[in-house]
């Protein structure tokens, strides 16, 4: 549970201090602090969603406990649902803590994005789930030798998500690639709301559709990975 507070605190300190320094160099960039802090808080939602799902699996593997779960009446769907449920709880706790800390340190209130904030959070949680399920599917297939994916793969998505900068500063190929990530639409629209006071709902719709497609695909992938594991034997994946 400590990690739900630790990483967001570190990120808030780093990005908050960086934005204070940039504001000294460019005093007219009044929204910069808000952009960085809201970026940290919102990205943390997707990150936590992914990490809590894949780490949930890894902890069972490290403890050699997976077999104890699946010799019980627990179903695979129950187990996946519980991982998602835990990720929701931890994401919300971490977000609440980060929001209070962000306000306390920098007087930045993420609630300014309300009511759209709820949509952003819901979409980012979905991104975290499909990333977490996809990574868990890979770990089920290849065991703990690919465990590093659990805390690294999500960061591959981050440059294309335009968390702290507008999408159009990326090179064209990266802009094209970013279109396949639901996160890029969310962060673009959070900045749109911040700077222009409006949201392009069709972009949020695209993000939602992409999330649903990836979520279905990741459910299918982890389910087929679990079937492969059952063919090898649960006791053999470590």
């Amino acid at each position: 549970m400590v990690d739900a507070f630790y990483w967001i605190t570190i990120d808030l300190l780093l990005w908050g201090i960086t934005s204070i320094y940039i504001l000294k160099l460019a005093p007219n960039s009044s929204q910069l602090m808000f952009m960085f802090i809201s970026g940290v808080l919102l990205w943390n939602v997707a990150y936590r969603g992914q990490v809590d799902i894949s780490m949930g699996l890894l902890e069972e593997l490290w403890n050699k406990n997976l077999i104890n779960l699946f010799v019980s009446p627990l179903t695979f769907k129950d187990w996946i649902s519980s991982l998602i449920f835990i990720s929701i709880i931890k994401s919300l706790i971490s977000l609440t803590f980060g929001s209070i800390l962000g306000y306390f340190l920098y007087r930045v209130g993420i609630l300014d994005l309300f009511p759209h904030l709820i949509v952003f959070i819901a979409l980012l949680m979905m991104t975290g789930w499909w990333l977490g399920l996809f990574i868990s599917g890979i770990i089920l297939r290849f065991g703990t030798r690919v465990q590093a994916l659990s805390w690294t793969l999500v960061w591959i998505v981050s440059p294309f998500s335009a968390i702290y900068y507008p999408l159009d500063i990326l090179p064209m190929w990266a802009q094209m690639l970013s279109k396949i990530f639901p996160t890029s639409y969310i962060f673009e629209e959070s900045r749109n709301l911040l700077y222009n006071g409006q949201v392009n709902y069709s972009n949020l719709g695209i993000s939602a559709v992409l999330n649903v497609i990836y979520l279905i695909a990741s459910f299918y992938f982890i389910n087929s990975s679990f079937k492969k594991v059952l063919a090898k034997g649960l006791v053999k994946i470590y």
């Binding site: 104890n68 699946f70 009446p73 179903t75 059952l230 034997g233």
Partner: protein, 308 residues
């Protein structure tokens, strides 16, 4: 009444056949020993019986229902303990038993955990993390976990490994008492043959993925006809004894005045008569009758040479 029926299950890993078309039944209240050398297919069979390894072909049914289509309903009444699985290290014994009791939907969790921690002498350990326990203590926690749901069928893979003899005896007693009280049916693997003889009603001997013997421990021991006679000879011509043994197909070994003779049980009376008639006197004599361990060693090393 049969609580478990295994019909022609086979498990192949690519070209390797780990379990080869085996079939057996487990009756209510029966303790069935699954024996065989390492790599024989015992653990693979147990994993298939638990549904954590899919079989290549064949059917497994508990209580008249197929495992593959009635998994949740069946697994509520089945449990398992093994030395190759652990419970989460960072949780205490009580927390582990508590979360396991949620998985099995135990109604009065607190009472059940108290009963089991008392039964397995874990009262002083319940609030310790698993990482603080010794191997023997971990085995006892795993056994407590296996009994948490009042299982009707229990699969125990080397349940007394890592236990000291006194606790192992206590655990065997507990297993037998549970069978008496609740008619629990148990599949039991162990490398301790005297334990298997004490606990099991019937034994399946598996080798190279096939069941090669299905019989009671007593009958299996009887099937080994060779005994060992140990003698300390005090007077008489031992050359006569050597000649007698060689002529009658017995093996004889000597070290100073101590002699060991391998012979068929039926030959023991004639050996003793021979010693008396030839004035070969001995101060001590002991006879080792064959037991399950002899059977295991013989079958594991070479089945064909065994005289069944």
């Amino acid at each position: 009444m049969s609580v478990l029926r295994v019909s022609n299950i086979t498990k192949k890993f690519k070209d390797f056949v780990a379990v080869d078309d085996i079939s057996f039944e487990l009756k209510e209240g029966e303790i069935l020993g699954l024996l065989g050398p390492n790599g024989a297919g015992k653990t693979t069979t147990i994993q298939m019986l638990l549904g954590v390894l899919s079989s290549t072909s064949g059917d497994i049914s508990y209580f008249g229902k197929k495992l593959v289509t009635n998994r949740e309903e069946i697994l509520e009444k089945v449990n398992f303990s093994s030395t190759y699985t652990n419970l989460p290290w960072s949780l205490t014994v009580r927390e582990n038993l508590n979360y396991i009791s949620y998985l099995y939907k135990i109604a009065d969790r607190k009472k059940r955990i108290e009963t089991l921690t008392t039964s397995f002498r874990l009262e002083k350990l319940v609030d310790l993390e698993m990482s603080a326990l010794s191997a023997g203590q971990l085995t006892r926690v795993n056994l407590a976990k296996a009994f948490i749901n009042f299982p009707r069928v229990l699969l125990l893979d080397e349940p007394t490994a890592s236990l000291d003899p006194e606790v192992a005896r206590f655990v065997r007693g507990f297993i037998l008492s549970q069978r008496e009280k609740y008619k629990v049916s148990i599949i039991f693997t162990s490398h301790n043959m005297s334990e298997v003889e004490e606990v099991c009603d019937r034994i399946l001997f598996i080798k190279d993925g096939k069941i090669i013997v299905d019989d009671t421990p007593k009958n299996l021991s009887k099937s080994i006809k060779e005994s060992k006679v140990h003698l300390i000879i005090t007077s008489g011509d031992d050359a006569l004894l050597f000649d007698y043994c060689v002529d009658n197909g017995m093996k004889i070994y000597s070290e100073k005045k101590q002699y060991t003779i391998d012979l068929a049980q039926s030959m023991i009376p004639s050996l003793l008569t021979f010693l008396g008639h030839n004035n070969i006197n001995y101060s001590e004599i002991s006879i080792d009758k064959p037991d399950l361990e002899d059977y295991f060693l013989k079958v594991a090393s070479n089945r064909k040479s065994m005289e069944l």
